[in-house]
Symmetry: C2
């Protein structure tokens, strides 16, 4: 509704979208351009939808500096399906793959791969509650790809550098996709559920390099075969979700692209971590060197105070600060679309709350 | 946009939505109720989204008279994934399943099943270009389920009666779901991509009966296991698509439910087929006894006239009447949300076009 206030949204996903994008969606209802119907009601074979996919692909190529050797797929299944689909395509019979387990999503990815074949855990931080990103494992890689999770939404860690390995990387980039530039050359495949940085829930973007695609198992069930989707629009895509993604990509270009958004994200994260570290009242949960710029996780002195913090924050218009149910604590997700102003409001509330309870 | 005209939408899918629903979506942007954010930006674990799923399930149970022995799933993958997922779950090792092939989608369902095991074609109308629904095969069923396609979108045929067989039916109801009551007792599983009768593209509704679910293969990849999704909200669902589905279901209840919508659909189809049959200029392509109430397919005397018909119709505000690219001709999709007024406009145009060219 127009008269209901928009609040500060720190939801871990589905996360905040740029207000301009949401307003534009509203503006294009109940009729999209000259289509005679809303974007929800047009054929996925129509010129209107074809233009939306083409515009999205072109924007992605510009943003990432991505050449024609990369296929760009918009799949409807959610990133969790990729945990199965990646090894189904690329864990060849008799072969192996390596998994870096840095969080509950990385662990799920490994679990699904291990159902299909020899998926080795080459490194894990599970013994330390996923509070850091392991290093020093890179030379132990023996499989045909390495799967890693570039940002760990639950525990708030992130790879600062792309792992240096001799085989293609497969990256679950769901929670930091397009928050910074990507070293494409190291990767064979990158996937991201849209609902954190680039759109609403309902579409997963898959980038797959042509030479890596050529190494997949054959034959595969049609819907599970990346090659089928790379060759043509195979089935009805999630039209509305792609439509919103296209707007977010253009918004991102308007903000200056990936180097600019990285600087903005770095600044937001530095402000928030600075406040956490300023006193002993708040305690960051991730190792400092591996702190995520997307999901800032911290604790208060007691679970009771954390509960009160989340409740009072909501009353101050600061939404969804509760940590993931598996770990508790506080989590502020500050994706691309989270304005610096929201971070400053949160910091102000943290000051107020500490003064009252510290 | 508010000032751009909505036209008569005969798209085969994604198809027309009720105008009331589209207007309500607009009204709930940029903020959904008191959520402080749009529905695209709220957690799928939030009370708001939980209420949307619960309301959708309750409406489906009321509309279909469906008891608690049925699970209701909202999956993000598209009906084409069901072509793979159904046999992966229910085509047990050493067992067989029967497929009735009545159109290109039914054939794709069989093709995917045959990759996994012994999927028999128990009947097919492919030899007659899918212009009819085969009968007389019911006693030849030997497998653990029979897969059929209740309505065939491309060629415009539909089962008038539910097939009578001794094993559970699995139905692809994508293009006539909730257009009429369903004989639930005959079925083990029913699936439908939302984008024809019940919502936008991006969500597939799966109804699965608990005793049938118990017969599935185990273990399965998590995302492919209906039991995983029946047990809990496993991964991020397509929030926005479910949100729109919920509105369509309540709209459907407001129209009087499935018996009432069947009558409305029957009337619309009778008007249109009546016009087709009134002269020799238009020729219906499906056998009369098997004509679809959802997708009305017909030809004109020449392909040139058909092309002109589609083009001139569009100028008259009648959209998306071109037949499926695999068969040509004309197709008018008159799903639940297509108003009788649109059908009357089409008939008027057909009269005009015949008078000019007949």
């Amino acid at each position: 509704m127009e008269d209901s206030p928009r609040l500060h949204n720190f939801c871990a996903g589905p996360g905040a979208l740029p207000l301009e994008v949401v307003r534009q969606v509203r503006h294009e209802l109940p009729v999209y351009k000259n289509a005679g119907a809303s974007v929800m009601e047009i054929s996925h074979r129509s010129d209107h939808y074809t233009a939306l996919e083409e515009s999205s692909r072109a924007a992605l190529r510009r943003l990432l500096g991505m050449g024609s050797e990369w296929h760009i797929l918009f799949l409807g299944c959610g990133a969790s399906m990729q945990f199965h689909q990646v090894p189904l395509n690329f864990l060849v019979p008799g072969g192996t793959a390596d998994y870096v387990v840095t969080g509950i999503w990385a662990k799920k990815a490994h679990t699904e791969a291990a159902r299909l074949g020899a998926a080795h855990v080459v490194a894990s931080s599970e013994g330390a509650s996923f509070t850091y990103i392991p290093t020093g494992w890179e030379d132990q890689v023996t499989g045909s790809y390495v799967h890693y999770t570039s940002n760990n939404t639950v525990c708030g860690t992130q790879y600062i550098e792309t792992p240096g390995v001799k085989v293609p990387l497969v990256c679950d980039a769901s929670s930091d996709f397009l928050s910074r530039p990507i070293d494409l050359d190291s990767h064979g495949l990158i996937y991201a559920g849209a609902q954190k940085n680039i759109g609403p829930a309902g579409v997963t973007v898959v980038l797959v390099r042509d030479d890596f695609l050529g190494m997949r198992n054959q034959p595969l069930p049609s819907m599970m075969d990346y090659g089928v989707h790379a060759a043509k629009l195979f089935n009805t895509p999630p039209v509305f979700a792609v439509y919103v993604v296209e707007k977010v990509l253009r918004w991102l270009e308007g903000r200056g692209g990936l180097e600019a958004i990285r600087q903005q994200n770095t600044e937001k994260a530095a402000l928030l971590y600075g406040r956490i570290d300023a006193t002993g009242f708040y305690r960051g949960t991730a190792r400092k060197a591996d702190r995520s710029m997307m999901n800032v996780t911290f604790r208060l002195p007691t679970p009771e105070l954390e509960k009160r913090f989340v409740g009072e924050a909501e009353q101050h218009g600061l939404l969804a600060l509760k940590g993931h149910r598996s770990v508790g604590g506080i989590r502020a997700s500050i994706y691309n679309a989270c304005p610096k102003g929201s971070v400053l409001e949160l910091i102000e509330f943290m000051n107020y709350f500490e003064a009252k309870n510290g």
